[in-house]
């Protein structure tokens, strides 16, 4: 390349708003454009001649170098979302692509790396995520979004709350969110699982005991109600309490006082009660197994949580939330999940709800060897149960019908969104729905 060519070449590179640098086969930087300099904070003078990993400093430079993969396979890598450490110590999110450079004879003689600063995109993504988030609760589901709207008012009030929802649907997360955003946030949050202890033990656990109350009571022990004074007590599985204990709970709510086991003096407490159950408490009242007066005392505000299978649109969001969580706990760098694996999860019925989803992601984290969780990393029973409803149709048509059913299920029957998801025209979707007999209520 003569001098004029070299200048033109530099001018072209510098006019691009994407960071670009090239390396030789030893990973030493040979060119470094203006945008690369702006994003990384290193001047071309500092960068040229240095090893790229000592300038670019991505989170995968020391373990899974993208350029190394490209130089060894000759294959181009595109759209990797990584972060780099800029010269002034900032973590900058970037999207990176790599490819090879070849000499006139076609031999690989170096690599080229292009990257874009996506700080603005990431900031926008976080803003969007915030609108689907309330404390540690994430959802796009309209029922949950309606709850989000009233949660600040619920938190601000001092009323008792009853949270009803199936096991694993996040009742305690909601209770914590109410506590953390309410007036009592500086007080304690005490959680008790009423179904986990036998009745007598539960009574001493909740109300405490005095020395000598029973054989092993060698000292006074405060109960959970005392520990929760000026804060919140969360009584999970409230429906499992005995009638005798229900009477005591009613008294705490009415008089804000109780007597510890073996005690005669009442203990006064100021506690907000959030109760939760996975059963229909109203039905238990009608059956006569739960006190009606206690039900009305607890049910001042009622929150009903849907099972995860009724909010399938939340599955991709929750998957990403758990991936972020386990990345920070396990020190891994998993970016997401493949479409096939996500499709299996979206079609799964999740009888264990969000807790089951969290366990699946944790399992996948242990098994996954790549940056994206794939089908192989999912638990065996999930892979086995992953069946696509083909309704008697085999092959390509059956798969196409199943894909349409899945898309319609995800978007609650919204054809425009389903068509967009399937990357087909809305009219084509309608035609195929007619062809496969999906125009009724079969989805």
């Amino acid at each position: 390349m003569n001098e004029i060519d070299s200048r033109t070449y530099s001018a072209i590179l510098d006019s691009i708003d994407c960071g670009v640098f090239t390396t030789d086969l030893e990973y030493r930087i040979t060119t470094f454009n203006r945008a690369a300099s702006q994003i990384t904070g290193f001047s071309p003078k500092e960068a040229i001649g240095s090893f790229c990993y000592e300038i670019f400093r991505t989170n995968i430079c020391q373990s899974d170098c993208a350029l190394e993969q490209t130089l060894s396979t000759g294959k181009q890598l595109e759209g990797l979302t990584l972060d780099i450490l800029s010269r002034d110590g900032q973590i900058v999110p970037v999207v990176v692509s790599t490819s090879v450079l070849r000499d006139p004879a076609g031999r690989i003689n170096g690599g080229i790396e292009t990257f874009r600063d996506i700080r603005i995109i990431e900031a926008l993504r976080r803003e969007v995520k915030k609108s689907y988030q309330y404390e540690d609760i994430f959802s796009k589901n309209h029922k949950i979004l309606q709850i989000f709207d009233i949660l600040p008012d619920i938190a601000e009030s001092n009323a008792n709350v009853l949270i009803q929802g199936p096991s694993g649907s996040g009742k305690e997360v909601f209770a914590r969110a109410i506590h953390n955003t309410g007036r009592r946030k500086n007080g304690p949050f005490i959680a008790v699982n009423c179904g986990a202890l036998p009745d007598t033990l539960l009574e001493s656990e909740l109300f405490g005991y005095k020395k000598g109350a029973f054989t092993d009571a060698t000292a006074n022990k405060p109960g959970r109600f005392s520990l929760a004074d000026s804060g919140t007590i969360f009584l999970d599985e409230i429906s499992d309490t005995s009638p005798a204990l229900q009477v005591k709970l009613l008294r705490v709510i009415q008089e804000k006082a109780f007597e510890p086991l073996g005690g005669v003096e009442p203990v006064h407490v100021d506690v907000r009660i959030i109760a939760a159950t996975n059963r229909e408490l109203r039905a238990l009242v009608e059956e006569g197994t739960f006190r009606e007066d206690l039900y009305y005392r607890l049910n001042v505000i009622k929150i009903e949580l849907p099972p995860l299978r009724e909010r399938r649109e939340d599955i991709p969001l929750l998957v990403q939330v758990f991936i972020d969580k386990f990345n920070s706990i396990m020190g891994k760098n998993i970016e997401g999940m493949t479409a096939d694996a996500l499709s299996i999860l979206i079609n799964h019925d999740f009888h264990g709800n969000i807790r089951e989803l969290e366990n699946i992601i944790e399992h996948a984290f242990v098994m996954s060897k790549s940056r994206y969780i794939d089908v192989d990393s999912l638990p065996e029973e999930l892979k086995r149960s992953a069946s696509y409803p083909s309704a008697g149709m085999d092959g390509l048509k059956g798969a196409e019908r199943a894909a349409i059913i899945n898309a319609l299920r995800i978007f609650d029957g919204n054809r425009s969104k389903a068509a967009e998801f399937l990357k087909i025209n809305r009219t084509t979707l309608w035609r195929k729905m007619k062809e496969y007999g999906l125009t009724g209520n079969s989805t």
């Binding site: 030789d24 030893e26 030493r28 040979t30 904070g41 290193f42 003078k45 500092e46 040229i48 001649g49 240095s50 090893f51 990993y53 000592e54 300038i55 400093r57 989170n59 430079c61 020391q62 373990s63 450490l85 800029s86 010269r87 002034d88 110590g89 900032q90 973590i91 920070s328 706990i329 396990m330 020190g331």
Partner: protein, 124 residues
């Protein structure tokens, strides 16, 4: 006695502290290397790695790039951080012992090279 640590990638200083897997810990007594060992912190979260270095009783960290939050964390615990040092670990140590290793200007201060295409020598 001084206890120095350097994040390691092969024989060189690892480019980014938070994601370094291995650390060299060197005890200096009377201006000479008294003891040298390796600390394998692979699988630890970045913050846990910093805590391990603190619990190891390290006084000085010589590193290349350092994330701002870890700079604040380590210096807050009284650990002297010498950032912006690249190149072979032994060379950096020798320069430190002979008093020729000066820290970069800020966290993440990078290498400066004379000449092009790696022909020059690194300046510390």
């Amino acid at each position: 006695m001084k206890k120095i640590t350097l994040p390691r990638l092969g024989e060189r200083i690892a480019p980014r502290l938070g994601i370094a897997h291995e650390f060299v810990v060197v005890i200096i007594e009377q201006g000479e290397v008294y003891q040298r060992k390796s600390l394998d912190l692979s699988g630890y979260t970045p913050l846990l790695k910093m805590r391990c270095l603190r619990e190891e009783g390290v006084n000085i960290l010589i590193c290349a790039g350092i994330e701002r939050m870890f700079w604040g964390y380590l210096t807050g615990f009284g650990i002297q951080v010498i950032p912006g040092i690249t190149g072979p670990i032994d060379e950096a140590l020798n320069r430190y012992l002979s008093g020729n290793l000066s820290p970069g200007q800020a966290p993440g201060f990078g290498p400066r090279v004379r000449g092009r295409h790696g022909r020059g020598r690194y300046w510390y």
